[in-house]
């Protein structure tokens, strides 16, 4: 980066305000269900936003991103259960091992384009899923990591206390989104957009497309894994469903619901899908039918995510405003 981005200060300010609001929420509105929702949305927001780094910014539609979410949950859970390390160490192990996984899977997958790329990522995910199911002594197979994840206190934070867990989850989420925001607004982020719009042009300009794509894939994998880690902390376990293809499908739904052209879209989608899921499963056993209908409505009817509409509306207003000023 040649110069500091002019919007950096604004982003940090927004992040700080968002974090403060989220941290205040349990005091203003003491409702444990809302706290649980925010923790889960924090995990999914990191997951969906990191997937959007590939889908929305680089044009790589990965169908296997759930692999990282599940891997993060298992890597963190196993580090805590088997190695007995502290939470920061387990966090570091999760980040490094998921980066390695991203590097290996990415190096193979991104040589393929379009639908072939999508399918090979899905294949890798199913490979990991089958491994989790089959490697019973390590992973507990289809029963998941049993017996709970120990949560020893660190630096005055005790994650076995609900309030601490909540604060930890939202802090990790806001920090993670802020970092991802810096990445997509950096020259590297604009390189990714150029690759998405015109790969040939990018490579003629001297950009190493392979390296840029691989970097994006690894970054997305790491943040997806951090999302999985937050989820593992919440449920105090890791389950094969986290690694299953349905997880990747949910990530894509979140992006579709929230909108892929705004940075915050996938996080908004994570919130919308989680709320929809909670409300619909409370009311009916036929939740698949209702969720499917909502998604069809977005995919066929609206063809945009919620934040896309808001962004369009803001833009129109601004244009109208500036015209009015003339």
């Amino acid at each position: 980066m040649l110069t500091a981005r002019p919007n950096l200060a604004r982003d940090i300010l927004i992040a700080a305000v968002a974090l403060a609001l989220l941290l205040l929420l349990p005091y203003v509105w003491p409702n444990k269900m809302i706290n649980d929702l925010v923790i889960r949305v924090s995990a999914f927001a990191l997951f969906a936003t990191s997937l959007n780094l590939l889908v929305g910014y680089t044009g790589m539609v990965s169908f296997g991103h759930g692999m990282f979410f599940g891997f993060g949950a298992y890597a963190f859970g196993l580090s805590m259960q088997r190695l007995g390390v502290s939470i920061p160490t387990a966090f570091l192990i999760t980040v490094l091992s998921s980066a390695l996984l991203g590097l290996v899977v990415g190096a193979i997958s991104i040589r393929l384009k379009d639908i072939y790329f999508s399918f090979i990522t899905l294949a890798f995910q199913m490979l990991l899923y089958s491994t989790v199911i089959a490697w019973v002594p390590l992973t507990g197979g289809d029963q998941g990591l049993m017996g709970g994840i120990p949560r020893p206190p660190f630096l005055g934070v005790d994650l076995s206390i609900e309030a601490h867990r909540y604060a930890f989850a939202v802090t990790v989420m806001v920090a993670g989104l802020l970092i991802l925001r810096q990445i997509v607004e950096s020259p590297f982020g604009y390189t990714l957009r150029m690759i998405r719009d015109n790969t040939e042009r990018a490579s003629f300009l001297g950009i190493n497309v392979f390296r840029a794509k691989l970097t994006a894939f690894v970054i997305a994998g790491v943040f997806g894994a951090i999302g999985g880690m937050v989820m593992a902390l919440f449920v105090s376990g890791a389950y094969p469903e986290f690694v299953n293809w349905t997880m990747s499908g949910e990530g894509i739904f979140m992006i579709m619901l929230g909108g892929l052209s705004t940075f915050i879209g996938p996080a908004a989608g994570a919130l919308i899908l989680s709320v929809l899921n909670d409300v619909i499963t409370r009311g009916t056993e036929h939740h698949g039918l209702f969720l499917g209908a909502v998604i069809l409505l977005f995919a066929l009817g609206l063809r945009k995510g919620v934040t896309d509409f808001i962004a369009d509306w803001l833009r129109l207003n601004r244009e109208a405003g500036s015209r009015g000023g003339n």
């Binding site: 289809d142 998941g144 709970g148 449920v235 389950y239 469903e241 909670d278 009311g283 009916t284 939740h287």
Partner: protein, 419 residues
Amino acid sequence: MARKRVDLDRRTVLKGAAAGAAATIFAPNIVAAQSKVIRIGMPTILSGRVAQLGTSSRNAIQMEVEKINAAGGLAGRQIEMVIRDSKGQPQEAARVSRELVNSDGCEILLDAEASSGSFAVQEVAKDLGVLVMHTNSETSSLTADPKIRIPLAFRSCRQGIHDAVVSGAYAAEIAKAKKINRWGTCSPDYAYGRDNTQLFVEYLKHFYPQAEVTMEAWPKLFQPDYTEVITRVLQSKPQALYSALWGGDLTSWVDQANIYALFSQMEVFAINMADYTVLTAVKNLPKGIHSATRYIKTYPNTKANAEWGDAYRARFKEYPTNWSWENWVGIHFIAEASKKANSADGKKIAEAMRGLKIDCPFGADGTVTMRADDQTVIGYAIGWGTTISGEPYVPEVTGAKWDTILQLEAEWKKRNNYT
């Protein structure tokens, strides 16, 4: 609707209101606690392939809660069930359970999840400090492993190790009588199928050391076509075959194996056969399949059991399942312990429940006991018999000897460092 409540009828409400009013006048400080309903949260699977687990659990609970409420509920507080679907996903089971306690005000959890979900619910119960009764999870380690066990968690259903001892002993008797030494296995390829089969073989050999396994087939869970598996079994010609297939998988497998006349060529031991869900779904139920009793209304052959099976059938137009009786046991243990403790408080109920023995239509001797040291139910009826093509499906059942089960279970626990 995922959210069903066992509602009171108008008269009961009026009576309750009258009693409440009377109590308000005479004992104003007690009424605050006692006039309140007590909510019990029930996470279970109500959609997807194993939805029957949830629906047949829910039916049984609905029937029993009505009886318990009519008899005064839990220490005077009427039970209101809040039942939710977890879709069979452990993370949803965790979320739903937390929600049931945190926002629906449930004070007790009746966990009618399958195995993986039950471990997730166990974590929630540990976190929130609520009483939980696991009613459907048969995985032994849930209560046997001291690292997983928690003081407020109980189990009211059968478990793998008990089944394995009984199956091994029964199969060994048949093997001894008929000189069956070459065994094959055909079980679903996931943790339950593998564990169950491995334990069965272990106890078969314990009782009949000459037995050896000459072939193993591991079809995938929910596999639709078993042709390849069946032909492989037929080619390797074992004298007997053991299978831990269950539900729809077992039904398809039996239907397909029938075409190849597999049942006339070897003794078949299918542990999960004697459950109405399978017995009534198989097209031509072969005669002579050995099976453990999951639930049939003729075993234990008592009036109480037959009446309960018929009442359930009259009401829900289908027979109860194995899960139904397990939920019966769960809710009645809570009710009896509450009566003993004269309290609806989870911790007091837990205290009263340890070592409690209750009358039960599904007990081997008409009772079941909540064993104090690992908080799991023992003394329930298990037996093996052979099928016929129509009712009563398994006419003669050999009951298990619980002293043998307990002795071998204790040795198994020692081997696994569970003591």
